[in-house]
Symmetry: C2
Subunit: 323 residues, 2 copies
């Protein structure tokens, strides 16, 4: 049970720690998923560490390994992260409203000294999406969930920004005269392109998620559903245009809860993107619709990306992520 | 007159090739400007090469050197550039409407084999601004000229994008229901935040540039001037917010023709930026107004950046620009 001489060739665990659940995957030395698991998240710093350690222990146990046998554990978390120190601040969804929680150190100690890397959840999703979709590492992972934000992988490197604001496009104005946003501005993109916005515009019934129900009704020709779907897809297409006209990312991967809709979402956004470009040779030349991709939530891109990120050199090195 | 053994320690020339003039600087081995010069630009590929070679020859002649003594010549050009090959496409302002003009090779041959690097003009301006302002290499150079666009230097590396669309924020919508833009969309940021927009809103008279005249009239309390200035500054502040909420750049440097206004422009944009953040703890936490800087046109950031860029390793190496 000795440690691998080449750390990057060993097994690793990746975690996506969300407000309600921790999703974990165990990757073998080839980077293949060997086991996965989800458990409810206990709130607060101690709760998060306990939930995460529980997942790591059970993933290892399922294949007869111990946490100490891993080359590392990567964790994607919602909130402001310093990947160099593994500290997490203001992760409100996790019940962590303090600053500088030593998540990497606490979890590493709990796991017998295994190296732990902590990263923003959208960043690890971008890394995982590049791997899962077989894309070179130049993409935005556009999460359409409660909010709207993107993880940016530019030329193989995560773009974090020192202030954690990179990819926070949900709080750029979409309709300057629109309604008030909880962030204090008006008409933010998040009020139009998020899963929460869809829930408001098409309240869930039939026991199905709003997005699935809406897209099904639109396909059946319900004119109100068509209008709501197209308005939503327009806003998502605007988010994609924004990512291309600022960062010129090769690919924009739609993810998050709304992406569970699958192909119909991709088609609707591509169609509105082409509409937006119809009168503009400039936009057409950028082939924005052709840059779209989608991963549904049943593909665990965030934990896969987290498990890959922990195999790579520390931040500041030439290629900080394993893509 | 032999070549320096360490190329990066020698003298270099940087050029900013615009539609009306070529501005050149000669940098010594310390990176200090030893001489500068501007000549009118002759149109078309042959004209551009002749104008550029003329500037290089005269800059060298002024200090008793020959072009062959230089470690290299860097050229910033408006248009789609492939820095790896030195090819330029669709530089309409230069009378080049064809694809793949071998600008680096043509100019290098004309100069007796000196290495020539060709780069987008806003990219070299970003490199030059970082040097001139003494900033670490994480900034956007926001050019407020005929159009609106940004050069992006992220973590010391230029963000080009494969399609040349990085930083093309002038064609993101600012007022979705606004007037038609020549690009084919409606209400683009360029229609509100450019020098051309100012010329329309405050037509030049008194023989002064529109921006200078407008800001002077606003300071004197002319209520219409105050309204036009504040509307303009609001649009520029929106461009700055856009750059921060996508790329989280440490600094946004205002440049281009409108930046000749100087400090009053910086103050007006900072004031509107603070206004935009007034109701939003989220925006306030990002300290966007504090990220603003300005360089006026009499500081030749683009040619300085071009002269630095040619001293650095080729694109693809760890640090492609000399900052």
């Amino acid at each position: 049970m000795r440690r691998e001489p080449h750390a990057s060739a060993g097994w690793s665990v990746g975690l996506d720690i969300g407000g309600t659940k921790v999703l974990g995957v165990l990757l073998d030395e080839e980077g293949e998923v060997r086991h996965s698991l989800r458990v409810p998240t206990l709130p607060g710093a101690q709760g998060v560490v306990a939930s995460a350690a529980d997942v790591v222990g059970r993933l290892c146990g399922a294949v007869g390994k111990r946490p100490e046998d891993l080359v590392g554990v990567g964790a994607g978390v919602p909130g402001l992260v310093d990947p160099a120190t593994g500290r997490l601040s203001f992760a409100v969804n996790l019940g962590i409203d303090e600053r500088g929680v030593e998540l990497a150190a606490l979890l590493g100690a709990r796991l017998g000294g295994v190296p732990v890397a902590v990263e923003n959840d959208l960043n690890v999703a971008a890394v995982g999406a590049a791997r899962v979709l077989g894309l070179p590492g130049d993409l935005a992972f556009l999460a359409l969930g409660t909010g709207v934000a993107a993880g940016l992988l530019l030329g193989g490197e995560l773009r974090r920004g020192r202030h954690g604001a990179a990819g926070e496009i949900g709080h750029l104005p979409y309709e300057p005269s629109g309604p008030a946003c909880p962030c204090g501005q008006r008409g933010c993109l998040e009020l139009y392109a998020s899963g929460a916005a869809l829930d408001l515009a098409w309240p869930p019934h039939n026991g199905r998620p709003a997005a699935a129900d809406l897209f099904a009704a639109a396909v059946e020709g319900d004119p109100r559903a068509v209008a709501v779907r197209d308005g939503f897809a327009d806003a998502v297409a605007a988010a994609v245009r924004l990512l291309v006209l600022t960062c010129d990312v090769e690919h924009v991967v739609l993810g998050g809860g709304v992406a569970d809709v699958g192909e119909p979402l991709l088609l609707a956004v591509a169609e509105r993107s082409r509409q937006q470009a119809a009168g503009s040779p400039f936009l057409r030349s950028l082939r924005i619709a052709e840059r779209l991709q989608l991963v549904s939530r049943d593909v665990p891109v965030a934990p896969i990306g987290a498990a890959l990120a922990v195999r790579a050199p520390a931040p500041g090195h030439e290629r900080p992520v394993g893509v």
